[in-house]
């Protein structure tokens, strides 16, 4: 049997099991809640701001932005200005200038901003959980229902079966990431308007000697920034998917495999407290999932941890998981 039709078979199986539909439904509900919440925050922020500044509306943001631009220009002129902060001042100025030129209140949300933010918030827990839903019973589900025997008695090598499952998983991961993008762009569009894809966003932060270095910061358009965020999200789902698949092969029970990988992920959240003091923790995959933080520069800089480090660690885990999966799956005895 050809690999292609094996994959087709697996994908249709996943659709028939309605797993993808569940993921879709969860995404719709959560994005709606999140978008509504953001909207409320926005309203409150505006109210607080106008109270603090003693003005009735935040519509006169142009004055404030113009003011800030003048200040920053003066700052750039100062011979006493720290060289390192010049890049970030310039980037900030470009953003403000864009806001002024296009008459966009920097306070306002947009679908583009929201879509990016949603994935930045989901990448370390919510997205992995969705992937686990798909990956965790691909093999163990067949073990517990006994269909694995039917699958394996056919005249197909075992590695081919696993490979087809693996490629199916990758297809589904791409679908989930695309769904997440399209849904959050659509749903948030109803709250905040569909625009904002060309606004400049600052990125390009680095960690030098344990400090956040912003000397090479630059602006990229929002759509490109979103693309990078969602690509990193796909990479994360690929890694989490590989690991879940391995666990699903090893423990043979869907409930147990979901439990194991979920508790590992949650544990990652509190293990990250020890990151700076306890070196070995940084080699765990759970603490390296927040790849998007390297883009936005919103992380606690830790010596030795950067984008390349995290990606290498994650890739290492994924490769190890794939190797173990294939070795174990081709060698194991199928009882049950």
């Amino acid at each position: 049997m050809k690999l292609f039709s094996l994959i087709e078979n697996e994908v249709i199986k996943m659709i028939a099991k309605k797993r993808l539909m569940f993921v879709l439904a969860i995404l719709i509900v959560l994005i709606s809640v999140f978008a509504y919440g953001q909207n409320q925050t926005l309203i409150r922020t505006k109210a607080q701001l106008s109270q603090r500044l003693g003005i009735t509306a935040t519509n006169d943001w142009r004055k404030l932005a113009g003011q800030q631009l003048i200040d920053m220009k003066n700052r750039l002129d100062s011979p006493y200005m720290d060289q390192k902060s010049q890049a970030s001042t310039r980037v900030r100025m470009e953003q403000l200038q864009y806001n002024l030129d296009n008459n966009i209140n920097p306070l306002e949300q947009s679908a583009a901003k929201f879509t990016t933010k949603f994935m930045e918030q989901s990448i370390f827990l919510f997205l992995p959980l969705l992937i686990i839903m798909l990956a965790a019973d691909m093999v163990s589900g067949e073990s517990s229902s006994g269909t694995i025997k039917l699958l394996l008695v056919r005249n197909v090598p075992r590695w081919k079966i696993l490979l087809s499952k693996y490629l199916t998983l990758i297809i589904l991961e791409v679908m989930v990431v695309i769904f997440a993008f399209v849904l959050s762009a659509l749903i948030s569009g109803f709250f905040f308007g569909f625009g904002g894809w060309l606004a400049p966003v600052a990125t390009g932060f680095k960690v030098l000697a344990g400090k956040l270095d912003s000397s090479s910061v630059l602006n990229v358009p929002q759509w490109q920034y979103s693309l990078m965020v969602y690509s990193l999200a796909f990479f994360v789902s690929f890694v989490v998917g590989s690991i879940s698949l391995m666990i699903s092969i090893l423990v043979k029970s869907t409930a147990a495999s979901i439990g194991i990988i979920m508790s590992t992920l949650v544990a990652g959240n509190f293990i990250s407290y020890f990151l700076s003091d306890w070196k070995i923790t940084r080699y765990m995959f759970m603490v390296n999932l927040r790849l998007t933080d390297y883009l936005s520069g919103s992380f606690q800089p830790i010596e030795g941890m950067n984008m390349i480090f995290s990606i290498t660690v994650l890739l290492g885990w994924a490769i190890a998981a794939v190797v173990i999966s294939f070795v174990y799956f081709t060698k194991q005895d199928i009882l049950a």
Partner: protein, 270 residues
């Protein structure tokens, strides 16, 4: 057959998606690791506001004012982009016929440690020793971050910050005096830009801070502490800029008037 077409559309979407995501992934790695991702083009700069930064030399017919410290020294918030650099000389005009030369070395966001480091680089030593008046505004950024803490943590943090701030300030004044034993040091007190939403506790801490600063500054016979809290307390709407933190043009002018009144006789006598 529905399943067949669904499968093909899924396959197409997934393949295209995969390629796009792979490109994005490559970009993400490049942008965070590239050694120098094309330094942004130098933004066009507007002409420097009057007398703000030029290093001027001293003559018999002039006196020099050096402005040191944070964004308030720099003049941030003034919608006319002027700040003390131009309002202070203006208000001195009535008291003296001499020319007033201003050097402004204010840096936005500077904390007391930063000011001390700036002075220790010795780059400013010549300017300091030439100055007749030195206006210092520092401390606001030291204390700013503790405002959001809860009352218990605030008390502790405040003590820590204040101790290190006072130590830095002491050092700073020493450096100033070593370079120039005669200049009048004018020190601006702190105000509370969040007066409207603030509680009594914050006011108490602010007063403690200002009191201790005043004690330190006026240990020196030629130092004067200029309070700002009283001037701004009921005038937040009038004197604070749109950013809700810095004084606006009117605020800087009001403060300049107060400073010039305090040292009027000295200026006249020069």
């Amino acid at each position: 057959m529905i399943k067949k077409s669904m499968w093909y559309s899924i396959l197409t979407i997934a393949s295209v998606g995969f390629i796009v995501l792979a490109m994005g992934f490559y970009q993400a790695i490049m942008v965070t690791t590239a050694v120098n991702p094309q330094p942004p083009a130098k933004a066009p700069l507007t002409p420097v506001p009057v007398g703000s930064t030029k290093l001027s030399s001293k003559t018999a017919n002039s006196f020099q004012l050096l402005i040191l410290g944070d964004s308030i020294a720099k003049g941030t918030g003034d919608e006319k982009g002027q700040g003390f650099s131009s309002y202070l000389p203006e208000s001195f005009k009535n008291d003296t016929s001499k020319e007033i030369l201003v050097n402004n070395a204010g840096i936005d966001g500077l904390e007391s440690l930063g000011l001390l480091e700036q002075l220790q680089t010795k780059r400013l030593d010549k300017t300091i020793s030439d100055a007749d008046f030195i206006l210092v505004s520092i401390g606001g950024n030291d204390v700013k971050s503790i405002l959001s803490l809860n009352d218990l943590a605030k008390e502790d943090q405040f003590k820590l910050r204040q101790d290190s701030y006072l130590a830095n300030l002491k050092q700073t004044l020493k450096v100033l005096r070593t370079a120039n034993p005669n200049a009048i040091v004018i020190f601006l007190g702190l105000y509370n830009p969040y007066e409207i939403v603030s509680n009594v506790e914050n006011t108490r801490l602010l007063n403690t801070w200002n009191y201790n600063t005043q004690q330190l500054v006026e240990e020196d016979g030629k130092g004067i502490f200029i309070p700002t809290h009283d001037l701004l307390k009921f005038n937040i709407g009038r004197y604070i800029a749109k950013d809700g933190l810095h004084p606006n043009s009117a605020g800087y002018q009001a403060l300049s008037n107060r400073i010039s009144k305090s040292i009027e006789t000295i200026v006249t006598g020069l």
